[in-house]
Symmetry: D2
Subunit: 346 residues, 4 copies
């Protein structure tokens, strides 16, 4: 059994990790970390866990945790993981960081977009960006995995084959994304109250959302050159789900067959990516509770653009599910171990 | 592997059965019955099943089905199961009926409340009311299981120990129940449109909802005498979940300790019943996606009444989950096989 | 023009008051009080008011306010109004208190249920309980109006004629009430976050909700004797609306005609009460945004109980609308001035 | 008093028209047309109108209606208005058509996108496109007003000043729009059931939604040349509201000051358009129930694009409200008569 510790287990992503790991056949949770709820029963914080988790929340003690756990998940605010990691820790345990600390290779870009000084930039080079479908082989050998962001996972995977195969102008990419409210976290903030979110939709972080440089970096690798994109997130009155609607100009002569072939080339054998094909569009309800990414597209002959759309559950493939997928890779398990969850509808 | 067939697999309860059986380690679905979608890909009707189910919907052919399947689930409108069942069928397969056809022992009561002539009353006596926690031993030996209704499961289990132990006046019982909208089914009816249900709550079926006699019959057995209750269902703008708020007058001298002891006597060892105790109240979100029943209560010293509250997921413990629980009993499997689902939140 | 001041204008009830008063032909708002947002533009706190309100939030200064305003609305936490009111204030302005400070005549009951010392019990006797349909004549002459609670308005009006006419046993009354989330206020509390409320229903304050003694007092007056009831509120995932489902045992010989006659006797000419009659049930969506109370009922011949149901918009008839109705009475205006709002659907 | 008749009064837009006209000081509704509910009480179809409307639904009889009404609103499926209008009718009454029949000047474009033969193309030239803020003077003289679509109203108004002033490349426009579910109408269709819409977001009509040519035509007039755009609508789990997020490439040298000046040039004095300025974004909740259009924007210096965003209530400014605004223009009333509704929140 893999012994897993979680720092930040009482946020929504942390709790989803608990849900997934409890149902994982090869894992045992040995540490429910939560600074806010130290010494409280975990099941009092999340009553869905009543009778399933009989453990109290513990403070963050990375030294002890590294000894107790084979893998540590950090589902914490930006900056915390970077402040805790060091060579001693990494020699004892593997770390899967759900925050953004190790996602961006250029520390200046990180510090600019996040407004934080990075506390351990020396580990950035070895950290592997844990987008499993793209970086699978590197993840297997990693000590420190930077688990991708929710919007970024969906945005990158939806557009990746088209950029990688040179079918679209990468400088024309516009991503209009929509997320359920669990992405905003469990902090008691006025804008996230039920009555403020319900019966409304709003854009936020227009032109400056922190997931922008992460998408640009990864799609830039695929394009073979640095790119800039527009990324606009929106808050939707639902608990879970991300939909990314992505626009790009097709290069001359690109046909639907070429687009389809590109998607199949990269994703045909991927368990978690479901290609819907041309004219079929993803809906977040069809992936809820699962680790699937549903991708569809439509070519607009009139404007010579493609509209590519992807949907994920932000807490699963966009956070905890992908983290478990990375754990499976790290420990040599079949990648979908514990993740063959059937999407729950309605 | 148990071969399972489903008649009515494209309703919400039928689809939930598919979700559960796909994740059940000992079952294989051999028949996706659906009169409305014959010859259509099941995954086109429920796109969450894309790449998970590669089968087409079949017409209802009970004869063939009985040969192909070890167990047949009928998740169909009232009357259909009663019209299909016969000795020949029952000699070949086991039937778990999710409709009301075999729940009520007195056929006149059934015909009055449902406005239907019962087509096979001769099988009513042998049918076992599949409320597993109460009738476990009888279920194990059954050929025909009447899977309880959603409201009834929640309503009966919440009040059962108090009635059985004689702690409340059974004639004082009032049940005010609230259900998510999946309980209304997938029919394209105006009152179930999003804009009609959203941002509203309404009572319906006041004094004449069909689940009333089913609750009265079962609680009457516990009371040792026929009883009449008030049962009022309400429609809540959410997908899943039933909450039953139940009121009863305590008999003289009944204390909280006696109430707590009664609950523990019957449920302490039940995997699917989670006793919250006095002063802790169930919320439907904590059981979503799972087969749990959460029960709490509060005694009102001022009015000498008890308020007992129960919550379930109407599609799981209130339909498909309980059906699988019954299947496990029928086939000698541990009762929670395939049902150890952690409630999904948020 | 009536000059109106609002203390607590940035809570949901306060904001609704602003919405209603802006559309009221005889009123001008002269004071937007809000301790939390002093010196901030009101329209920055509630952007629906952009270009409609060009005023900043002011601190609570009752002395100044009393000079500036003909009427002061206090939409504040319990205890504040009681601490601000005095003879000098009441000699200069009229006060409509939306908190509970002056609703309950027995100060000991108030102090017990609210856990507060009452700061000006000397004004309790003269305060008029502003349930307009019942206490209209007294309101007209008042200086200090205790605006009823949201649950209480709905609960009392639904049951009042039956108690007043002696058709039901007042000791048998059980009220199961359901409220939208705006009733919980705009405080940034974890239990009111979107993801915590959405897709769930829960009971709270079982046997000890503060609206209980208020209902008991008023229905006790109608009954001519003190009564105790059960009142159970529930939180529903919607913004607005309260539904009260009320149960009572009918006295011997009471017929539907007598029940109908009782309702008509008291409410036939009431503009804001819409009698749906027997077998038609209120739904909160049909009163949203309006000051209406919809009331329906059903007699259960089997159990000899009546189920009476009422629906209101908790922010209108349950708070701000009724406050304006009281203001109209205080100033001799037609009672529905500025309140002839057509319910908004969907 | 203006006598108004409504054909299609039982759809959501028709009902909203009733709500607005009942609160309009200069109008009287003389005809509640509804083919589906002939002879039924209007208030039985929409119970919010109980006691406010005491009229039965009537069949569509344009001849009689034209005699009885000063203005006829057709809130009907595409094709119906075109089949009813003729010179005789137009000589007796004014028509405000909420369908698409007279919105598009090129009948071939209409017939291609709507898949219908136009039954009275001879009236297309005289019909005025009733986007009041743009075509105010023409509306005043019209007999036949083509009331704009919901998505189109929001999409055009948000981008119009930028195109008109030549600040953006009109061929680069991409509109990603999101709508509440009332836009889908009140038809009893499976995809619009509560459980299908709730907790999900989906794109639809990608590259081929019928509002596309309408936006292209109007923005083409502003650009002074034909243009093609991408328009992608999405369904959001809320009742009301449209948000349009629009992307365009800025022409060289365009500054924020120039953008702001363009918006002010066209909209500064518009009652119904609220300019939020740079960096403030519209949210549908702030316009709910009102005729306002909230517009904000942000320039992305990195990509040289502008993101312009607009929000409306789809049933008000996107349908019934704009129809009333057009009526006010037709009859010489102040344009905001009966439309000074304060947005309702929450």
């Amino acid at each position: 059994m893999i012994k897993a510790g979680i720092i930040g287990s009482t946020g929504y992503a942390g709790q989803e990790l608990v849900r997934l790991l409890l149902q994982h056949p090869e894992t045992e949770i040995v540490w429910y970390g939560s600074r806010s709820y130290i010494d409280q029963q975990y099941a009092d914080v999340y009553r869905n866990m009543f009778r399933l988790v009989d453990a109290k929340c513990l403070d963050d003690n990375m030294e002890e945790l590294a000894k107790a756990a084979d893998v540590v998940f950090t589902a914490t605010p930006q900056g915390l993981c970077a402040s805790l990691v060091n060579e001693n820790i990494l020699s004892q345990t593997k770390i899967i960081d759900l925050s953004a600390d190790f996602r961006i290779k250029d520390v200046k870009v990180y510090e600019k977009w996040y407004g934080l000084e990075h506390k351990s930039p020396e580990f950035i080079p070895e950290a592997v960006y844990g987008l499993c479908e793209i970086n699978r082989e590197d993840v297997k050998k990693a000590r420190l995995v930077a688990n991708p962001g929710c919007y970024t996972t969906c945005s990158i995977l939806t557009m990746y084959p088209l950029v990688k195969e040179g079918l679209v102008d990468p400088h024309s990419i516009i991503i209009d994304a929509k997320s359920g409210t669990s992405g905003a976290g469990r902090g008691a903030k006025l804008p996230n109250l039920f009555c403020e979110v319900n019966e409304s939709i709003k854009p936020y972080g227009v032109t400056n959302h922190r997931h922008t440089p992460e998408i640009e970096e990864q799609l830039g690798y695929a394009a073979g050159e640095p790119i800039l994109i527009n990324f606009t997130p929106h808050l939707v009155p639902m608990n879970r789900g991300i939909l990314a609607t992505e626009y790009a100009s097709l290069k001359d002569g690109v046909t639907e067959a070429m687009v389809q072939a590109a998607y199949e080339k990269y994703y045909k054998n991927e368990y978690f990516i479901r290609l819907l094909g041309s004219g079929v569009y993803p809906e977040t309800r069809w992936v809820e509770g699962s680790n699937f990414v549903d991708i569809g597209y439509k070519i607009d002959e009139r404007t010579c653009r493609i509209v590519a759309m992807g949907a994920i559950d932000n807490l699963v493939k966009g956070a905890a599910g992908q983290a478990v997928q990375n754990m499976n890779l790290l420990f040599g398990l079949p990648e979908n171990t514990g993740l063959k969850l059937v999407p729950m509808f309605p």
